[in-house]
C-alpha cells in the first residue's frame, strides 16, 4: 500500500496569460460536457463561473489601468487573469454535507465526488462556500474538479497544470507549493508589486485550501470570499433549536390533551 502525499495547486495569477489552455485541457481529459456557447457580454470572460460542466475557469479581472497595473495606454483596460478551480478545502463543506458518502477525501488530500455513488440529492451544492460543486440537471449527479485523481494515480500531473504554458498553474506536494508561493510572493514584493497576496483562508473553519492562489489586490475582485465558512459549524445551534422545538411540541400536546381534550 502506497502512502501518497498531499498534493495541491498553486495558481499564480501574475503569470496567467488567459489562454484558456487549462479549460480546454480539463474538458478534454475529463470529457466534460459543453457548458453553453454564449457571450456574457460584459467582459472578455465568456465562461463566467465554475460549475457542473466547467471545472477550470479563467477569470478576466478587468479594471481601469493605474500605475503599476495594466499596459501603457491609459484608455485601455487592465487585465488580470486567474484560473479558478475547486479549492479542495481542508475542511470541505460539500464533503460534510454529502449524505451518501459519495464525496470523499482521496489519498492525495483532495475532495472527490464518486460518480457511481452520488444520488443527486444536491445538498453539497448549498454546502460549498465557494459555489463550485453543482448538479448537472441532465445527468442528475453532482460534478466538480476531480483533481485528476485518475492521472495522479498514474503518477501524472493534472491535465490543466500540464497544459499551462507559463507555469501559472503549479502542481506538486502541498508543502513545497506553499514554500514556492511564499518565495514568489517575496520576490514580487521586492520588485515593488506590493498588492500581490496569497489567497488561502486559513483563519476560518475551512482551515485552508489545497488549491490556493496568488492574486493582486482584493480577493473580492476575483469572486473569492474573504471569510468562507463550512456551514456544519452551525449544526449544534440547529439541533439545539430542533430539540427545543420538539420539547415545545411534547409539552404543548400534553397540555392540550390534559386541558382541552379528554373525550
Amino acid at each position: 500500500m502506497s502512502t501518497a502525499i498531499t498534493t495541491g495547486f498553486f495558481t499564480d495569477s501574475t503569470l496567467c496569460i488567459g489562454c484558456k489552455a487549462c479549460e480546454v485541457a480539463c474538458k478534454e481529459w475529463n470529457d466534460v460536457s459543453e457548458d453553453g456557447l454564449n457571450w456574457t457580454g460584459f467582459s472578455y470572460d465568456n465562461t463566467a463561473v465554475v460549475g457542473h460542466s466547467t471545472w477550470r475557469h479563467v477569470k478576466f479581472v478587468e479594471n481601469e489601468t493605474k500605475p503599476g497595473l495594466g499596459g501603457n495606454a491609459g484608455d485601455m483596460v487592465s487585465w488580470e487573469f486567474s484560473s479558478d478551480v475547486c479549492k479542495h478545502c481542508e475542511v470541505a463543506g460539500c464533503l460534510e454535507a454529502c449524505p451518501t458518502g459519495a464525496i470523499v477525501r482521496t489519498e492525495f488530500g483532495s475532495v472527490f465526488v464518486q460518480p457511481d455513488v452520488c444520488n443527486g440529492c444536491s445538498y453539497c451544492v448549498v454546502g460549498c462556500p465557494f459555489g463550485v460543486v453543482q448538479k448537472n440537471p441532465k445527468d442528475g449527479r453532482a460534478f466538480k474538479c476531480t483533481f485528476c485523481t485518475d492521472r495522479q494515480k498514474a503518477g501524472l500531473e493534472p491535465a490543466c497544470a500540464k497544459a499551462c504554458p507559463t507555469k501559472s498553474i503549479l502542481f506538486g506536494p502541498l508543502d513545497e507549493l506553499r514554500l514556492k508561493a511564499q518565495t514568489r510572493l517575496d520576490e514580487l514584493h521586492e520588485r515593488g508589486m506590493t498588492d500581490a497576496n496569497i489567497y488561502n483562508p486559513e483563519h476560518t473553519n475551512v482551515g485552508g485550501i489545497h488549491a490556493f492562489f496568488l492574486i493582486r489586490g482584493s480577493e473580492k475582485a476575483y469572486n473569492l470570499p474573504p471569510n468562507p465558512e463550512v456551514p456544519t459549524k452551525y449544526l449544534k445551534k440547529g439541533w439545539t433549536s430542533s430539540a427545543i422545538g420538539s420539547a415545545m411540541l411534547v409539552a404543548g400536546a400534553a397540555l392540550a390533551f390534559l386541558v382541552g381534550g379528554r373525550s
Binding site: G41, K220, A254
Partner: protein, 367 residues
Amino acid sequence: MSNGKFSRSAERERVPDLASEQRLMSLRDEAERKGLVTATGIRPAGSPIPRASEETGYYGIPLLKEPQWTWEIPLYFFVGGAAGSSAVIAAMADWIGDDFELARHARWVATAGSALSSGLLISDLGRPSRFLNMLRIIKPQSAMSVGAWTLAAFGTFSAATTFAKLVQERWDFLPVKIVANLSQFASAISGLPFHNYTGVLIGATVIPAWNKNIETLPIHFGMSGVQSACSILELLGHENHALNILALLANTFETYEGFELERRTERELRPLKRGASGWITRAGGMLSGPLPLALRIAALFSDSKRIRQAAAISGIAGSLLTRYGWVQAGHASARDWKLPLEIPETEAAATRSIGEETAETLREKIG
C-alpha cells in the same frame, strides 16, 4: 445565410435623413454624458470599462450556487412536518386524551405522510434509483443523512404502529398491546426530529437567508407542521378541543416568528421580505400566524365548526406557502452576490444593474 435578422438590412437600402442623423447624434450625446447607452435588447459589451474590483466584485456574478431542489422538496417539508407532528398527536391522544378515534386517524396521517415524504424525496433525486445510497452510511455531520435515517425510522415505526393497532383492535392480547404501544412510542420519538429537522437541513448551509436563521428555523418549521397536522385532523372531522389548543399554541409561535422576521433588519433577511419570495413568505406567515390565531381564539368561545374549519384551511395554506417562500428566498439569497464578498450595500449600488443582468444571463446559461 437567409437569417431574418441579417437579410433585412441587406434587402432594404436606407437613405440617411435628418431624423436618422439626429438619432445617431443623440446616441453620441448620451454616450458622452452617461458613459453608457442602454436600449432594449442591447448589452453594451465592454463599455464602459467593465470593472472587477473590491467595490464591484467580479462583475456581480453570484459566487454561491442556487439550491437545485425541485418543487417536491418544499412540499416534502410540509408533508414531513405534518406527518411527524401527527405521530406525536396520535400518541398523546391515545395515552392522555383517550380519544382513540383521533389517535387512529393521526396514525394514518403519520403513516401516509411518511410514505408520501419518501416518494417526494426520491422523486427529487437526480438519480432516483439510487435512493438507497442515502442509507449506505450514517453521517451525523450531514443533516441530509440524519434526515434520511429519521425518515426511514419514522416511516417504519409509523407503519408498524398503524398495523399493530389494527391487530390490537381485533385481538386485544397483552403482547400485541405491548408491541403496539412500544411501536407508537418509537413512532412519536422519531416523529419529533422528523417534524422539524428540515429547519436544520436548510439552516446548516451557506445560503445566507437560511443560515442566518438557523436558531429559529427548526422551531419555525416545526410549529408550522404542528398547526398543519392539527388542521388536517380537524378537516378529517375531529372536534377535540385539544387540537384547537395545540394549533393555537403553534399559531402563536408562528405569529411571534413573523413579527421577529419583520422586526430584524439584517441584510441576509431581505429575500424573506422583498420580491416574490418575500411576498410568499409574508403571505404564509399571515395565513399560519395571526389569522388562524384570531380564529382559534374565537373558536374557544364558540362552538362554531365553521370557524375552526376556516382556521384549519388557513393554517394548511399558510404552512405550504411558508415552505415555498423559504425555499424561494434561498434562491434569491444565493443570487445576492454582495453578501458572501462582504461588499457594503452603498458601494455596490453602482453596478447593481449589471449584476442583476449577469445573474439573469447565467441562470439562462446554466438553466
